[in-house]
Symmetry: C2
């Protein structure tokens, strides 16, 4: 059934694994940074990995789509965080699921969930496996655990071209979805960095952030309705363009991260494929002035599709900007209308705030497919920005990770200074003077930005976990103490659970537990994610 | 403390009551329609209204702001639905609250809620009293009931001009809020029809629909954070521009209609006051073609502030359009940027779909305060549309009401035909051949419109309730059976509870009950609203 086997040490499938050539090149780049030569660690053979025996037996009536094969258990032990993948590449698989299910139909989904619940198994909904927040691991205290992988429930069930919406099975991957929509002139245009390997169900369960930098940023904004199987039964919301009837049933499920049920299918709003485009890269001598320009543009409510600013470190690394300049990328797109005036209006606002862009570097495609303008830094940035490969840098003596948040504009300058000071200090302590910290905005709201921080630095082999934990603890504490959200679009999982407790209303934990009690009374689904096991 | 006493037979205060002259004029208009001369019913004197004795005694430590005065109990017996006001004007007050509280501080709010809960009183949060869905009445089976009116908690606590947001106490009324923001060049621009008499807390509790016809339509879209007192304690969400951390704590409260707690204050996103404006009124010979134009415009994502179409009946009555034409009102506004191109783009799309508007009738104000263009039907419509007076038509032999919904575009033509057929039949049965049914869109989404139906017709005095119930039953059944939502922005209350049960996920009732159990374990808050008492 599978088009390819999942990789156990990178995002996606075996075909997505980096080559030895790529890993050697990465090792060379790491050496240039750290001064310590490290060979890429060998990839263990499946046969050499030691795995505890399954602690349950798959009954024959489920054996068509539930398996305890070693390779399936190995490939469902970890999500996509680099520390997990590092453990994988080092052959450590202490807590594999005891079985993996691949339901192809709702009937099979019902069968396997009923088997899990009636046997009180820990049950882990699995989409594309790209969680970076420890959202799909088997808890140490689980006595028996089953991972339910939705990859065979990957069809588009219905397309409504009039309303521009479609009903997707939860396990469909980004590229497959877009390829099928393309034939109808439609697109979802939701591109989290995990896009090639993550699923509609995963996006909804984790509140993923997508293509649009302004206005409709999260998958939340595209959901028309959700169909989900919980231990208490099916949960299906009505497909509506809007409603004001009571608290929203969808909003209870969006962000529930597999703790309430297994999402089976979702109606999502679509777009017509854009043919009119306009973009510009605007340079700022000062990072804070650049972010002021972003505020001014987003508050005009022009709603550009792209409005992402890179601080000078990121502008240099990702787009080849020389000097100490921040780079703001502004982009408009439309299926219906020319966007020339919109980009002119946005650029004019940016210039008022000190932004520099030559008129000839404003790129406009008035629907002909032939853009005018030179593009400048935008093209370089686009090429650098797309393409995450979570495997290539593993075990080379460089630790890198990201964290993202959102904060209102009034607090933003102090927030950024505090993060750079506190996390910078933690980086220095954990990774030394060569550590680097940088920032960009991935999404922007009229009342505040969603800053995305990246850090990296040399780390001694074997010290990755400890160094990372120190940095992460400080980052979590600082983000929450300074008024931010612990995550803007990476989800809570187990990684952010404690910090999230500090952030959310105190009574909210009890409310989530009561919701869970209604749908998952025996606490089988993803225990320990979002809330402590109850 | 009160600037004016609340009216017991119309929305708002005594000063808002229609005059005898207005009521006589309404009676004349009713006669012209029904052919039956009816005198406006006399307004009973407070002293002549019979009220049962209070079933509780206000303790002295609360007597500063809790009262069992007759006038307070009378003015808190009913919401704003015309059938309620009709009972009021006829002097019928069978189920008054036993006391009314007017807390001025959070400490007083705590005191009164604790008193209510510890004595197991039915407790009814009361904002502006404009509920049209029986959302604030004392249930017949309540043994003792207290209404908590937030009108003295009416301050703006903080304004953040940088992020464009402010923290409002829940009891602030629309006009007071706007007057204070105006001094700072800001505006909320949330104008439900109840705007002059309704409150921020009420808007959030009931998911009110506002000024913007597209994009951000409900108050939901403007909420940054909520502070609410529940019987289990304070519930306060963090003020953020966006977040992806778990299910949204705000979305549990938004639409909870007073069943989980009493909203004390809310941070809402604001706008700078618009100075650039552009609008046009476009005529269509065919209602369905007009709605197709609306679909085309909203799917371009130009996001006009106004995009409201009136069917020929409404176009004639509200804007003086002759002949059998639908009227589409398109409006753009901005604090920062000229909107001339936007209106031109929208008008061009409308014309492609058969819309007719003379170039000279497109009104553009490029920030000078001097608009160019003649305006045509838009001005007439604006004058007719604003100004609801719920008291003037009471008891004159005309029954009128509205219901609103939302439906995806693919189902819209059939939906409209079904509503007109089924509800039209019910109207004929209940009100006779002179009954009228009409429709406009109040809000529009890329995936579907929010149609708003109005009906009216002659009714025999004393038969109003029975006639209305027949029509309403059919309307509810038809809306839900045809795939719509039972309410787009009028809330659920008790009026829509049963129909809502048909619409929402079957498990959702249990989830709401479990949420309520967490925050209001003794079921004191607004029992019978949204869900059956538990």
């Amino acid at each position: 059934m599978e088009k390819s086997r999942r990789s156990f040490w990178t995002w996606g499938y075996v075909a997505d694994e980096p080559s030895e050539v790529q890993r050697q090149a990465a090792a060379k780049a790491a050496y240039e940074r750290t001064g310590i030569a490290v060979e890429p660690p060998p990839i263990p053979a499946i046969a050499d990995i030691k795995l505890r025996k399954p602690r349950l037996a798959v009954p024959s009536f489920l054996s068509q789509f539930v398996t305890s094969e070693k390779v399936d258990r190995i490939t469902h032990t970890y999500g996509g965080h680099s520390l997990e993948l590092l453990r994988a590449i080092r052959g450590t698989f202490d807590e594999p699921p005891d079985a993996v299910a691949y339901p192809e139909t709702e009937s099979q989904l019902e069968q396997v969930l009923e088997w899990c619940v009636s046997n009180d198994f820990t049950t882990i909904p699995y989409g594309g496996g790209t969680s970076v927040v420890w959202g799909l691991n088997v808890p140490q205290d689980a006595t028996r655990a089953v991972s339910i992988d939705l990859e065979r429930m990957n069809q588009i069930l219905e397309v409504d071209e009039v309303s521009r919406a479609a009903n997707f099975q939860a396990g469909i991957l980004g590229p497959s979805l877009e390829a099928q929509l393309k034939a109808r002139g439609l697109t979802l245009r939701h591109y989290p960095q995990s896009f090639p390997w993550s699923t509609v169900g995963g996006w909804v369960a984790t509140r993923s952030g997508g293509h649009y930098a302004t206005n409709h940023t999260h998958i939340d904004d595209f959901v028309e309705s959700i169909r989900m199987l919980s231990p208490a039964g099916w949960y299906e919301s009505r497909r509506l363009p809007g409603s004001g009837a009571g608290p929203s049933p969808d909003r209870m499920v969006i962000g529930s991260e597999g703790t309430l049920g297994i999402i089976s299918s979702v109606w999502l709003r679509l777009q017509k494929r854009p043919v009119f485009r306009a973009s510009a890269g605007v340079l700022f001598d000062d990072w804070m002035r650049g972010t002021e320009a972003v505020r001014a543009i987003v508050q005009t409510k022009l709603y550009p599709a792209n409005l992402r600013i890179l601080d000078p470190v990121e502008a240099r690394n990702a787009a080849g900007v020389r000097g100490n300049q921040a780079l703001l990328i502004i982009g408009f797109e439309s299926a219906d209308l020319p966007q020339r005036l919109q980009i002119e209006q946005a650029v004019a606002v940016a210039r008022v705030h000190g932004g520099v862009v030559h008129d000839d570097d404003v790129v406009v495609d008035d629907g002909t497919g032939q853009a005018t303008g030179r593009g400048g830094s935008v093209g370089a940035w686009r090429n650098a920005f797309i393409g995450v490969n979570a495997g290539v840098q593993l075990g080379l003596g460089v630790l890198s990770d990201t964290f993202e948040t959102a904060i209102t504009w009034d607090r933003w300058p102090t927030f950024d200074a505090t993060i750079r000071h506190e996390v910078g200090k933690a980086l220095q302590e954990a990774l030394g003077d060569a550590a680097a910290l940088s920032c960009r905005f991935t999404h922007v709201y009229p009342d505040g930005p969603a800053p995305y921080y990246s850090f990296s630095g040399p780390v001694a082999l074997g010290q990755e976990q400890e160094a990372w934990q120190h940095i992460k603890d400080i980052a979590n504490q600082t983000v929450v103490a300074a008024g931010g959200t612990i995550t803007h679009h990476h989800a809570v999982g187990r990684m952010h659970k404690e910090a999230w407790e500090q952030q959310r209303p105190e009574l909210f934990g009890a409310m989530l537990r009561s919701l869970k009690q209604s749908l998952d009374p025996r606490n089988n689904l993803n225990p320990g994610v979002l809330i402590d096991s109850c």
